[in-house]
């Protein structure tokens, strides 16, 4: 009895360990494909980016470690400061248009009781178009001669604009394209958030005699504060990576007026064959964006923790 019991426990302990090993093996069997993909295309490139920015590589000659030379080189490039300045202005303008406009649109749509499906469908339609299509479409609209925008200006007897051809209006033209294509997703996300604002709060505020604007300021905005913050960060992160608009519309011109950081990175690598300089630019942008991303992830985690548990 005694013996059989001890043998039994020893047997089951070994079996448990055996099962543990088997379970781990099975688990890593399931994980291996994802591990390979992540290692090759996410983790390794992060390391490679850092290495790249301290090397001189063009894949024809040999690869050399050059310390901070790549950074010196790009700091001296006049396009460098232009790129950061443009990216900052673009992000700021895109925030003013692409952040306020969707929120106001969502407020409006939330009040309307008719044509809801149509309005939602229409506002999200440009988001579904391939970005290259909408950008090329706007390139045609921006044509200073027979383009749609100048035709409209002529129709209402306003002076026409050079749009993409003038360094004054080029950047704002890019912001208009970006806002038109992307505002649908923001609008629908805000709409979803607005529907979670408890009706009692509005009723109470109304009894207290709060007008429409005060209701927005003291109820709607505080109630949707977290989603507004999260979207602000997402928007900053997304617009700082602007590439396709300058690439297809202006080629960075006129006069470096629309060159963006990612576009300059692309040029360094594929036009100047200077991967080190491109890597250095990428590394800088990465460090800036990681800060915003960290705040974003922090905020969305708080959101999850503060939510009442529900299954």
């Amino acid at each position: 009895m005694d013996i059989s019991l001890s043998r039994g426990t020893r047997w089951s302990a070994r079996a448990r360990r055996g099962r543990g090993v088997r379970r781990n093996l099975t688990a890593y069997g399931f994980l291996c494909a994802a591990l390979v993909c992540f290692a090759l295309f996410s983790w390794y490139p992060i390391v490679r980016e850092v290495i790249l920015s301290f090397q001189k590589t063009n894949f024809i000659g040999e690869t050399k470690w050059v310390g901070l030379k790549n950074f010196h080189r790009i700091f001296q490039d006049p396009s460098f400061s232009a790129a950061w300045k443009n990216t900052a202005i673009f992000t700021l303008l895109a925030l003013i248009c692409g952040y306020a406009v969707p929120f106001v649109t969502a407020l409006l749509l939330n009040e309307l009781r008719h044509a809801r499906g149509y309005l939602r469908f229409v506002v999200y339609l440009p988001v579904m178009l391939p970005p290259a299509v909408s950008v090329l479409l706007f390139k045609w609209f921006y044509n200073p001669g027979p383009g749609l925008f100048n035709e409209i200006l002529r129709f209402v007897h306003l002076p026409t604009l050079a749009w993409l051809d003038s360094s004054k209006t080029a950047l704002i033209s890019l912001v208009i394209v970006a806002t038109w294509t992307n505002m649908g997703s923001g609008t629908l996300i805000y709409l979803a958030a607005l529907q979670t604002v408890p009706a009692e709060l509005y009723e109470a505020a109304e009894l207290d005699g709060a007008g429409l604007l005060r209701r927005i300021r003291h109820i709607t905005i505080p109630q949707t504060k977290l989603i507004l913050l999260v979207m602000l960060l997402l928007q900053i992160i997304a617009t700082m990576q602007v590439f396709i608009e300058p690439f297809l519309l202006t080629g960075g011109g006129p006069d470096n007026a629309t060159v963006s950081v990612v576009y300059l990175m692309y040029q360094y690598a594929f036009n100047f064959n200077n991967y080190g300089g491109g890597g250095a630019l990428g590394l800088m942008l990465m460090l800036v964006l990681v800060v915003f991303s960290a705040v974003y992830l922090r905020l969305s985690r708080d959101d999850r923790d503060s939510r009442p548990a529900r299954v």
């Binding site: 688990a27 009781r113 045609w140 529907q195 999260v230 990576q241 992830l297 959101d303």
Partner: protein
């Protein structure tokens, strides 16, 4: 390589949408919003409401539909009519033949097929790889599972665009294996599978499936693949739908990554091909090509409208 805004965002305090019981008296009012239902019922309120509604519908149509109308009709104008000022609102002599010309001259069928193959493959691989990984991390919980999960979620902090160059160099010359994936579909399919957000969404959903179900299956002798196939997957339809939509839409909309990894003109997806050929084409042929390239997206949106819009706030799914 996707845009950050393509990720779904969780809305605050996602409450279940409680639909009020329909009483005949308040048939057309939903839950109360900013404007009180009382002021809407007054005469003045109704006038304002209908004015605002009409204005909104007109402005939205002008801003979002009119450009598309201009595109569809612009393609049917002759080159001369296209540059005429002031422009004609309707094409004088519509030439639908331009669409046929664009299809043939630009070989759009091939590029649409390429895009379709990239999207389909990326979807299959992404779902297979990420579901398996999330299942292992959620239910099998191996040692160092949390480290692996942390490493995968860490990639969410780094937008793919900033890793464009090192990722491109990796695809050009895979470490250890020294394979060149440029101009092969794998260059799009494999990086798409490394999607931390999918793993996050899937794992969170799998975590909410009671482990007792799996334990019962284990006693009956079910193997791990069997559990995944027969227990987990059948109840995970909603989250699989969300992940699938994002997988397809991301590949469909992506531009920079295929621009880099598909330098061969014959391998390009449709949006890259059109932008590369745009310089050599007459304006009306180019516009026709833009229309054709946007048709699949619009059709997909029409059919899956509900799922796509719901997927935007996917983080609000239970879990």
């Amino acid at each position: 390589m996707s845009n950050v805004l393509d990720r779904p965002v969780r809305t605050t305090h996602a409450r279940p949408a409680v639909r009020r019981a329909r009483s005949p008296r308040r048939a057309d009012t939903g839950p109360r919003t900013l404007v009180s239902p009382h002021s809407l019922r007054t005469r003045r309120g109704r006038v304002i409401y209908w004015t605002v509604l009409t204005l909104t519908v007109v402005v939205f149509t002008l801003v979002f539909v009119f450009p598309l109308y201009w595109m569809v009709t612009g393609a049917m104008k002759s080159s001369g009519e296209l540059v005429r000022m002031p422009p004609s609102v309707f094409p004088e002599h519509p030439h639908p033949g331009v669409y046929e010309k664009a299809w043939q001259q630009m070989d759009l069928g091939r590029y649409l097929l390429n895009t379709f193959i990239y999207a389909l493959g990326a979807w299959l691989i992404q779902v297979a790889v990420d579901v398996c990984a999330a299942f292992a991390l959620s239910k099998l919980r191996p040692i160092f599972g949390n480290v692996v999960l942390g490493g995968m979620l860490l990639t969410l902090m780094i937008p793919p665009t900033v890793l464009l160059l090192p990722a491109y160099l990796t695809v050009r010359d895979l470490p250890i294996l020294h394979l060149n994936l440029l101009n092969t579909p794998w260059a799009i399919w494999l990086p798409a599978a490394a999607n931390g957000f999918n793993i996050f969404l899937l794992k969170r959903f799998f975590d909410s499936i009671p482990s007792e179900l799996l334990e019962a299956a284990a006693i009956d002798g079910a193997s791990a693949p069997r559990m995944l196939w027969s227990i987990i997957l059948p109840v995970s339809r909603p989250i699989l739908g969300v992940v699938s939509i994002f997988a397809v839409v991301n590949v469909w909309k992506d531009f920079v990554w295929p621009l880099l990894v598909m330098p061969d003109t014959n391998r390009m997806p449709v949006s890259v091909a059109i932008s590369q050929l745009s310089q050599e084409m007459p304006q009306n042929v180019l516009i026709a090509a833009l229309v054709i390239a946007s048709i699949p997206a619009v059709v997909v949106f029409f059919v899956f409208q509900r799922n796509i819009m719901a997927g935007l706030t996917a983080g609000g799914l239970k879990g």
